[in-house]
Every structure is written in C-alpha cells, then in structure tokens.
C-alpha cells in the first residue's frame, strides 16, 4: 500500500497570523514613508497605492505567505484641530482561530 498524502488544513502555530507582528510592519512603513509629509492631492493617489503594496510585500515576507491578504490604506487630510471627522470600521466574517485583523 502506498503512503497517503498529508494535507494541512490549519496553519502550524508558528505560521498563525500574528496581529502584533503585522502592526509593527505597518507602523514601520508608515513612519518611514509619511514622516514630515504634507497632504498633496496630486501625490496622494500614488502614495496610498504604493504604501499598500509595500505593506502587503512586507507582511508576506514576515512569515504569512500562506495567507490571502487584503491591505487597505486610508489617508485623510487634517484641517483644523481635534475633531474626528472620519470613522473607519471593519468587520469580518471569517475563521476566528486562524484569521486575523490589524
């Protein structure tokens, strides 16, 4: 009798999505790329696109290459002080044990 195949239906613990690691990836890139920048409506479309790509590549190479990834970048212009005029909310229908969100 031939040997059977083994299939992985859940990631091994070391490959599970780790929000803390991903958060740090994001912080690093945002800090590097946006520090000292002003909101420029001409540049912001390309900037947000390239930020998303960078973040996606960095997360992929941080040990999450078996995951499907969706990266969304939102850049808002700050006019005036304090008042929060943008509310961002995300909700997912997914597998609690393996998927993650950051």
């Amino acid at each position: 009798m031939e040997g059977s195949d083994t299939y992985l239906i859940r990631p091994n613990h070391q490959y599970k999505f780790k929000p803390a690691v991903v958060k740090e990836c994001i912080r690093e890139i945002v800090r590097e790329r946006l520090s000292g920048m002003r909101y420029d409506p001409e540049e912001v479309p390309e900037l947000s696109r390239s930020l998303a790509e960078c973040i996606k590549d960095k997360v992929k190479s941080s040990g999450f290459d078996k995951y499907k990834l969706v990266v969304q970048v939102v850049i808002g212009e700050q006019r005036g002080q304090g008042v929060k005029w943008v509310q961002v909310k995300a909700v997912c229908l997914h597998s609690q044990s393996t998927d993650g969100r950051r």
Partner: protein
C-alpha cells in the same frame, strides 16, 4: 453539495458558478441598502458616527452571509464629514483572482461621505 436519490439514479447537486461567484452588482445593492438604512436622511453628527458605521458594517455582513455563498467577507466603512478636507483610499490584495472579488460603494449626502468596501475571499 447535496446528493439525492431519485428512482434508480443518483443525482448530485453542485452549486452553480452563479451561486459561488462574487457578484459585484449583488454586493453593491446590499451595501447601498445598508447605508441608506443606517444613515439615509441624516445630517453628519459626530456623536453618532460610531453607531452609524457599526450599523452599516453589521447590516452589510448580515445580508452578505444570507447569500449563502462560500466566502469569507471583510467589510470596511468610512464616514467622513464634508468640510473640504481630502481623503484617499487604496487597497491591494493577494488572493485568487479567479474566485475572489471586491466592491466599493461611495455614498454621499449634503453633509457627509460614506465609503464602504467589501472583500470576498473564496473558501
């Protein structure tokens, strides 16, 4: 997948392509209805945006799951007051182009914008 025995034949029912695909028009309609229900007819109110955005995503997700399609969904909602400031969103995905999809709906009234994105990832 269901199997049923009829007479002497065994028939298998598989979900048709239509039933397992991410249909942008269908998703878009659900989002528009969810946004209208949550904030339609309202003027921007700082104290209510949290509750509004929660309603939008939860209502959207609930209606999406009722479609019974084999997808994991991610719904994001951005509510922004109209005050002249700019907002740019971008997204990139690493997924299966043949099965996964996304849809973004932009809604506005006199006092605010609402941008909702749905990402469907085939299971």
């Amino acid at each position: 997948m269901l199997g049923s025995h009829i007479g002497g034949t065994i028939m298998d029912e598989y979900q048709t392509e239509e039933e397992t695909a991410f249909v942008v028009e269908e998703v878009s309609k659900i989002i528009k209805e969810s946004v209208e229900a949550a904030i339609g007819g309202n003027a921007y109110q700082h104290s209510r945006v949290n509750q509004w955005s929660t309603s939008v995503v939860e209502q959207s997700l609930s209606q999406l799951s009722k479609l019974g399609k084999p997808f994991k969904y991610i719904v994001t909602c951005i509510i922004m007051q109209k005050n002249g400031a700019g907002l740019q969103t971008a997204c990139t995905c690493f997924w299966d182009n043949s099965t996964d999809g996304s849809c973004t709906v932009r809604w506005e009234n006199k006092s605010m914008y609402c941008i909702v994105s749905v990402f469907g990832l085939a299971i």
